[in-house]
Symmetry: C2
Subunit: 187 residues, 2 copies
Amino acid sequence: MDELKFVTSNPHKFREAETILEEYGIEVKWVNLKYPELQADTLEEVVLHSLRWLKKKIEEPFFIEDAGLFIHSLKGFPGPYSSYVFRTIGNEGILRLMKGIKEREATFRSVIGLVIEDKLYTFRGETQGYIADSARGTLWGFDPIFIPKDMGGLTYAELGMRKNLVSHRRKSLELMASWFSRKVKKA
Amino acid sequence: MDELKFVTSNPHKFREAETILEEYGIEVKWVNLKYPELQADTLEEVVLHSLRWLKKKIEEPFFIEDAGLFIHSLKGFPGPYSSYVFRTIGNEGILRLMKGIKEREATFRSVIGLVIEDKLYTFRGETQGYIADSARGTLWGFDPIFIPKDMGGLTYAELGMRKNLVSHRRKSLELMASWFSRKVKKA
C-alpha cells in the first residue's frame, strides 16, 4: 500500500516527486500520460476536473500535480495558464510585462490531486517570492525569473538541487505524503 | 426548424449573432449558461469538448462560439486564453509585450460549434489585421488594439457598428448560417 502512481507527462516533475516521497518511504510509479485540463481560475478546479476524468481510466491510488506562477501586480497572471504562457511569450514576455513595475511579489503554487478509496483530495503548497529583473540560471519554465524569499536572492534556477528544499512542489508533496502515511498507518 | 439556440453568458456576443443571423431568416434564442472549457491550443478543440458536455444538457439544435486573438510574433499568444489574459494583463499588457516589435500581424479568430441531428460541426471565421500602438475606441475586450486590414487603420473599437461588417464572428456566423439554411431547405 506504500505505493502511489504519479500521472504526468513531465519527467522533471516525476523525478522531483520521486526524490521527495522517498524520504517518506513512499514509492512512486510513473504513469506517463496526458489528460484533459479545464480552463479555470484556480489550480484546484483544474486538478479536480482532471481527476474525475482519470478516475475512469487509472487504478487508484494515484495523484496528479499542477503548478502555476501567480504574479500579484498582474492579477495572478499567468496563474493556471503558466505552461501555455511559458511556451508562447516565455520568460522574456514576463520580464517585459514587469519592466518598471516596483511591486514584484509573486507566488509559486503547486496543487496535488489524489484519488484514494474513491475519494478526491487536494493539497496546496506555496512559495512566496519575487520576479527577478532578468533571467538567471539554467532553464526550466519560469525558474530563472523566480526568486524565493530568504534564499540569498538567488533564483530557483540558480539554486539547482537546493530548490527542492524550498519549492512549492516540495510543500504540496509533503502535505500529501504526511497525510497519506498517517492514513496507511491507521489502516 | 429555422430556430437555433445560442448558448453563451455574454450578452455582447448574443446581440452580434442575433443581428447577423436575422439576415439569413434564422431566429436565435438565448440560452444564458456557462459551460466548462478545455485548456487546448486550438479553439476547435475547446469548442468540441464543450459541445460534448452541453449535448447531455441542452436540446439541439444549438451552437456556441469561442474567439481568440492570435498575435503572430508572440507565437499565437493569447490565443484560446484571450478571455483570461484580457481579465489579467489586459490591453495594456499586450501593448507592453509588443513595444518596439515591428512585426505586428495578428489574426482574430472565431470558431462556432454546432450540434444538429446528434452531430458536431465547427465553422471558423478569421479577420487579419495588426496590433495598434495604443488603445483607441470604446472598450470591449481587445477591440481597441486590433486594426483589421483595409478599414482605414481604425481599430475594431473605433469602427463601432461597422465592425460587424468585417468581424471574425460575422464570418463564422455566415459560414454556419449558409450551411444551416441549405440543410433546412433540403430537408
